[in-house]
């Protein structure tokens, strides 16, 4: 019984090896197994015999005489050069076709989405203008306001010194109210500079425009405003310094109005120590007063979240579409390339 099962297993294993056995291409242990099995299996003996006859017939069939010579004409050399040039052009065309289709796809998808109203551009445009233009002026005027207040409140040099390397001042700032300011900077996607600026505006408590502005200002500013005269001064300075250090980080998360914002903030810091600007800023102050209020009313922090999810979504869609198109193009080009290689 056992031997029957063993024989069946051997038969299953040996049958596909008979062909290689004829050619002597089996490993020694496989050959031995085949031979052992052949000795006891008439079916495999028959298979082996007929396979041998088949191979022998194949070896006996006559060689076909070539109908003609297949040598190439001398013109093949010139053709080969032309062919190479064509192949070069072909690969160039392939690469450019891939690039063009990618760009076209990106362009068309962008255009289609915008055209069919997925993104309300007509609404966006005026908002963006309103958003961008006054902000620049606001920052300018606001910075001037800061200067004015600073000059009014305390001598400039000590402030700057404190700004640069004043441990007590820094301590004071941290003690006063550091976290809300930091929160304000990191939190709102578009509102941060405004908050800083309004913070700056709000700091000198006794000034005239303060009541309205401080009402619109951030919590941090309110808290800072409660402190002594010196406290706001020092807290303004680090804020401005932070604003100068931060723009790179901040600009990443914001819309079109941002570059002007950055440009506006950095001059602010430069202008800060100069007394020459004081006189001019005095003149600007009154005009600056109504503006911040109106901006504060139409302040983007309320609008930005309403628009940004749509934009975020659209940006993601476009990015994904672009990536997908790019991936497909690369795959397509790769396929073409490998098929060309394989087929010689």
């Amino acid at each position: 019984m056992v031997s029957k099962i063993q024989m069946h297993l051997d038969h299953k294993a040996v049958a596909p090896n008979l062909s290689a056995y004829i050619d002597g291409a089996l490993a020694p242990q496989d050959r031995e197994r085949v031979e052992r099995h052949l000795a006891v299996c008439p079916e495999c003996q028959r298979d082996l015999a007929t396979l041998r006859q088949t191979v022998s017939l194949l070896r006996r069939i006559p060689v076909k005489r070539v109908p003609r010579s297949f040598t190439l004409p001398m013109s093949a050399q010139a053709e080969r050069t032309a062919h190479r040039r064509w192949a070069l052009a072909n690969s160039f065309m392939r690469v450019s076709a891939a690039a063009v289709s990618f760009m076209l796809l990106l362009l068309l998808s962008t255009d289609a989405v915008l055209r069919f109203g997925a993104i309300p551009i007509p609404d966006m445009a005026p908002r963006a203008e309103k958003y961008a233009a006054p902000r620049a002026s606001e920052v300018e005027t606001a910075s001037q306001v800061i200067e004015t207040r600073e000059v009014e409140a305390a001598p400039l040099e000590p402030t700057v010194e404190e700004l640069v390397k004043g441990p007590p001042a820094a301590e004071h700032v941290t003690a006063a109210e550091p976290s809300p300011l930091v929160e304000g900077m990191g939190g709102g996607p578009a509102g941060t500079p405004e908050q800083e600026v309004s913070a700056a505006k709000a700091l000198p408590a006794p000034s005239q425009p303060m009541p309205t502005e401080s009402a619109n200002g951030s919590r941090g500013v309110m808290a800072a405003g409660k402190g002594s005269e010196a406290t706001p001064m020092t807290s303004v300075a680090p804020t401005a310094a932070a604003a100068i250090e931060a723009p790179a980080e901040e600009s990443a998360g914001k819309g079109g109005g941002q570059p002007t914002q950055d440009n506006a903030t950095s001059p602010t810091a430069e202008i800060l120590p100069t007394e020459a600007t004081f006189a001019s800023s005095q003149a600007v102050v009154p005009t600056a007063e109504p503006e911040p209020v109106s901006i504060a009313e139409g302040e983007p922090p309320q609008e930005a979240p309403a628009l940004s999810p749509l934009w975020q979504f659209w940006r993601t869609v476009r990015l994904l579409a672009g990536l997908l198109a790019g991936l497909l193009c690369v795959l397509f080009a790769g396929l073409l390339w490998t098929s060309r290689k394989r087929r010689i």
Binding site: R46, Q53, L58, V63, S69, A76, Q77, R80
Partner: protein
């Protein structure tokens, strides 16, 4: 001039050097093509196409056996031909009018007329049987048992592992054997398989 030197010259564009390689391998190439395609004209076309492609793509030849390389191109050309004829099947006028008396088989002067006829019948029967095989098995069987290439060479031509060649050859031989057993009358008396 060695094969490597001829290949090197041909790579520089020397058509004469390449033609010497063509003369050395055209019979092998044509016979492989004929056995795969089963038609003389198609085989001639595939062979010519293969040499032309080989000459154009000589930069891609990375050394090794030129025979293997050119056979790979020949088999690819044959597969292209097969696919093309599958798309637009046509009956060749030559096939209809083919006259065995003018067949281009090697004729041995010492061969008796009966023997010659028998060999023609054998050739036809085997060609019929080869036509029944899938093209990859057919190519392996032709290269191994008709042209006498080694397993290693065939594996390189087909660009598949050695084990695949062994199993393909095993299946091809078994199928052809079964075909010849089932169609014994196609073979001349002296060539029929005896299974008992």
């Amino acid at each position: 001039m060695s094969e490597e030197a001829l290949v090197a010259s041909a790579r520089q564009g020397d058509v004469n050097a390449f033609n010497r390689l063509v003369l050395a391998y055209q019979e092998l190439a044509y016979n492989v093509a004929y056995r795969i395609l089963g038609n003389e004209d198609k085989a001639a076309d595939a062979t010519q196409d293969a040499f032309l492609r080989g000459y154009r793509a000589l930069e891609q030849f990375r050394g090794g056996s030129f025979k293997v390389w050119i056979l790979r191109i020949v088999t690819n050309c044959c597969y292209d031909q097969l696919r093309a004829s599958q798309r637009r099947p046509t009956a060749s006028l030559d096939d209809i009018l083919e006259d065995d008396e003018h067949s281009r088989l090697f004729e041995d002067d010492a061969e008796r007329p009966e023997e010659h006829v028998e060999r023609l019948e054998l050739d036809e029967a085997i060609q019929e049987g080869l036509g029944e095989l899938p093209e990859d098995q057919r190519a392996v069987l032709v290269m191994s048992d008709i042209e006498g290439l080694s397993y290693e060479e065939i594996a390189k031509v087909a660009a598949v592992p050695l084990g695949t060649i062994k199993s393909r050859l095993s299946r091809a031989r078994a199928k052809l054997r079964d075909y010849l057993l089932a169609n014994k009358e196609l073979l001349p008396e002296g060539f029929r398989l005896r299974d008992s």
